[in-house]
Symmetry: C2
Subunit: 306 residues, 2 copies
């Protein structure tokens, strides 16, 4: 497993911030994003292009994107729920846009007020917009609640597969497998990654988005890597979650994930000590929010070689 690269895609500024009440000042967000990039993080989902009334914490996303694209060697991603959001993201200069598509139709309606058919149509519109305007923006669709939904329960594997096929046909370049609710386990992750890769093509599923709701996040990440996943979403200090999926707390913790990958011999390009020091920015800016993760507090193993 040596000499392989894994891209850690930081989602704290989007998935983290949207789930907490505090609104982080724009200047602090910029400082935070720069510190992440300086620690070696190469991709950051910096916000969502959604109405300010829905997620006021992310109201400054356009400004944040415009700032983040000035940082060298950083891929700037943004979440967009619809064509309007996509156009705004593209105009701001986002390199990558991610559309959340909930495999649970009930959750989809609650989350973005669209059923599956309407979502597929929206993806087609966004894909067409990108093609017609000759933009290089990378379009990916995140298959949310793919391991189960906290409103309706189990999601049949066949439905996930079939939706992924429809999404790819509608023009998405890539699928992200999302365990929004922390219902996944290593066996299910392994099975679904394998099936999806076999159906939509190995190169069309590279990313997984995991929550640590039941403590299995890193075990799931390990299983995903073993199935060929090379991009893993995580949130620094584990802040985050989905406000519309009850009980769906916290993304996996970037610090612990990077330690795991680094210890296993994967190249992430990230400096662990610099990464740990970002906790100071967060604890000062968000003093009432708990910071998760173990490695930063425990410290690296004695004699640890990066």
């Amino acid at each position: 497993m040596n000499n392989k690269q894994i891209l850690v895609s930081e989602v704290g500024p989007r998935d983290g911030l949207q789930s907490i009440d505090s609104i982080l000042p724009t200047e602090i967000k910029k400082q935070w994003i720069l510190a992440l990039a300086n620690a070696g993080i190469q991709e950051i989902e910096v916000g969502s292009f959604v109405p300010k009334s829905l997620i006021p914490q992310l109201a400054d996303t356009a400004e944040i994107v415009k700032y983040a694209i000035t940082i060298p060697n950083l891929t700037v991603a943004a979440l967009v729920p619809n064509l309007k959001g996509a156009i705004n993201a593209i105009k701001s200069g986002a390199h990558k846009i991610s559309i959340p598509f909930s495999t649970s139709e009930t959750h989809s309606i609650k989350n973005v007020n669209k059923n599956h058919k309407q979502m597929i149509e929206e993806i087609k519109k966004i894909s067409d917009y990108i093609l017609e305007n000759n933009h290089n923006t990378h379009l990916e669709v995140a298959l949310a609640t793919a391991f189960g939904c906290s409103i309706i329960g189990e999601i049949p594997e066949d439905l996930v597969i079939s939706l992924a096929e429809q999404i790819m046909k509608a023009g998405s370049k890539e699928i992200v497998l999302s365990d929004t609710t922390g219902y996944g386990d290593p066996s299910k992750v392994r099975k679904l990654v394998r099936k999806l890769k076999a159906t939509i093509g190995d190169s069309k599923l590279n990313s997984i988005h995991l929550h640590n709701t039941r403590g299995l996040g890193l075990a799931n990440a390990f299983a995903a890597i073993e199935e060929g996943i090379t991009i893993i979403d995580s949130s620094i200090s584990g802040i985050g979650g989905c406000p519309f999926a009850p009980g769906a707390s916290g993304n996996i913790v970037t610090e612990d994930l990077v330690f795991m990958l680094d210890a296993m011999g994967f190249d992430t390009g990230i400096d662990l000590d610099k990464l740990f020091s970002i906790r100071d920015i967060l604890s000062k800016a968000l003093p009432d929010e708990p910071l998760y993760g173990y490695t930063a507090n425990a410290g690296l193993p004695l004699g640890y070689k990066h």
Copy 2:
């Protein structure tokens, strides 16, 4: 991976209690152990036969063993550092005795005041005592700090293998691989389990003892299972740690481990709801101790089928 059995060996009453200052009353320990057995736990390490002055929290181990062996279908294990402890454990009726053998000689001297040579001699004495007295007590040796030591750092893999061979020759029936310090990662676990099984025999390494010091505990457990490990130590609510290895906090959490195994289709024989309810006993008995783990608080997935 279906239809396979994994034995979850609870170490909270030993590894958990020895690391906290509070001394749990004997009657509460008995209530706790009974509740664990009633939830379906089939093996519990109930204490240590060490001088009361060293670990006063476990001073009642003999009485606890005598009580625990009256519970049907429960394997009662106890930790013993030397022949004297082993004799006391056997006289109390313990089914299984576990000798901690630190692969870090410095840690061994600090922990049990014996170097490697003296430890091998002690194992031989204990093995001989069991043979000569025709006891059925199962003797296992836990290879502590096998993934690194927080006092001296890295432990060469070849040393771990060589010590395991000497320990088996000295009369141990089995080796337990212990990540005392939480230095392990899934790759190292996989590699060391594979090498050890190849050296001492597949059936002589069945157990792993993991700490969640850097959050990788369940990922390591998953890797171990994939290499054929069938017995996993864990501590209910994650209480525990090794007081003589600085920074070595908390065993992996029984509730989250059992959820992972159950969700993956393994048969543990454990009832998750009954297991979760044991947290009430602990929070009442140890009100100042934090309880770890995620699954009990998050709840089982909606529509979850055991």
